[in-house]
Each structure stands twice: as structure tokens, then as C-alpha cells.
Symmetry: C2
Subunit: 116 residues, 2 copies
DNA sequence: TAAGATAAAAACGGAACCGAAATGAAATTG
DNA sequence: CAATTTCATTTCGGTTCCGTTTTTATCTTA
């Protein structure tokens, strides 16, 4: 069951979602931060800085800084890998799960409102 | 014909779209810039700095700066309003229309790929 | 026409982010 | 066990964005 969406509907949905993200009082995440956050919450662990950098096609410092920012917001958490202490494992938080839930509900609601 | 999308599907779609935006070599727009751009291209003119600021719930300098940035990318253009020369009218460009088209196609393609 | 109102931009200091290069810590290899 | 590799972070200079405040230009109105 693929989702059939005309390009006009897709644009309108993108517009409405972005507008709500700007207008709400949730923290504003960049595309990179959003990609990282959703990768962590949608894909199976473990998630390392190196792995995330490869998946997104960006440098490792970009991941480090994004983790700093999202760590401050309590959306993700770092933990040293005990198997290989060079690695940092990125983990979920309760607050991050709540944010994801907000995002998912908003997206589904906006999609619901798409007009033919 | 509303678009039915589970929250899980919505999240996956959001993830995939953001990931592609990070990975492509198109200019990276912020949520605010995207909202402004799509407002200009989806809603009827005229578009003024003041009107855009109100619609997005942000200050006017935010709009001015976003227009500077998107003007450099040739995505939008300013024109003085001849009726009231205090106003700036924001207008579309060919390059902006091409960017919108790229965005729309990518979104529709990603939506097409959503799995039940 | 002088005074006030309005629209946009500019200026300012502070915060965040960028890519590239250097550093620190831990594991691996010869 | 010394040298090298790997992983993540820090640092650097530069750019961009933020909110607030000030300035400039234009219009309205008393």
C-alpha cells in the first residue's frame, strides 16, 4: 500500500508541516539534527558517531556538535561503549521519545488534512 | 480523499525526506526559510515582509535576513511596491521554481516508497 | 507642512554552526 | 612494547542566525 500523493499535495504538506514547526514552541531542530534523532529512534542500535556520520554523509565533528545540542535538550544521551572504549554509543531518552511522539502525531494530523 | 498515514509511516517518511535533504547537494534551507519560500510559491501574492512575519509568527528582521539568504541563492527576488514605496514585494524566480519542483518530486517519490 | 505612524533594513552583541586541522584516548599491529 | 590506526572531541577562523534596538524612507493626518 504505497502512499499516492501528487506533487502539489506533497508540497502543501511540506509547507504546512514546516510552518507548524516554526510556529510551535518546541525546540527548532536543523535537518541534520532531525536526521540524527530519527535515525537513533527508528533504526536498531548501536549508534556510533562514526556510523551516524557515514549514514548522513557528514563529518564526525558535525555529529559531535549535534549530539551536544540535542544532549542539552535531553533528546539523546551518550554512553561509552564498554566493549571498545573508543566508541560512544548514542542512546534514547524519555524526553526524546516524547518529542518523537509529538512529531509523529503532528505529521499524521497534517497528512490527514491534505486535500485532493 | 484524506491521506491516511500511521504515525510510524509519518515518522519514517519524515526521516527519509530529511536524510535526503542532508545528503543531496542542494542548498540547505532552515525550517523558516522553507516556510517562507513555500508561502511565496503556494499562496497568492502580494507577499510583504510584514505579512510573512505575521504568518510565521516571527519578527520582521528574521524575514529580511531570510530574504537576503534566499536572494543570494536566487530563490526569491525583492521588488519595491510602486503603490506604497515603504513595502517590499517578494517575488518568485525561475531558479526558485526549479528548486520547488525538485522538492515536490522528491517528496512525492519518498511518499510513494512508504511501506504499509 | 509639521508631527506622527508605518515598513523595511541596518547595526549590534551573542550564540550556533561550518570545514579543516590538531589533540587525546584507546585499540591494534609489527 | 613501540608505532600506527581508529574514534571522538576540541580548537580554529569564518560565517550565519538570533532578538533587540536604531535608522532611513515613506506615507498619513492634524
Amino acid at each position: 500500500m504505497a502512499i499516492e500523493l501528487t506533487t502539489a499535495q506533497a508540497l502543501q504538506l511540506w509547507h504546512d508541516v514546516n510552518l507548524e514547526l516554526v510556529r510551535d514552541d518546541q525546540p527548532d531542530l536543523t535537518s541534520r539534527q532531525t536526521s540524527i534523532l530519527l535515525t537513533i529512534y527508528l533504526e536498531a542500535p548501536p549508534h556510533t558517531v562514526r556510523g551516524l556520520a557515514q549514514k548522513l554523509g557528514v563529518s564526525k565533528p558535525v555529529i559531535t556538535r549535534a549530539l551536544n545540542a540535542m544532549g542539552k535538550l535531553d533528546l539523546v544521551r551518550r554512553r561509552r561503549d564498554d566493549e571498545d572504549r573508543r566508541n560512544v554509543l548514542v542512546q534514547r531518552t524519555v524526553n526524546g521519545a516524547l518529542y518523537i511522539e509529538y512529531l509523529a502525531d503532528m505529521l499524521a494530523r497534517q497528512a490527514q488534512g491534505v486535500r485532493p
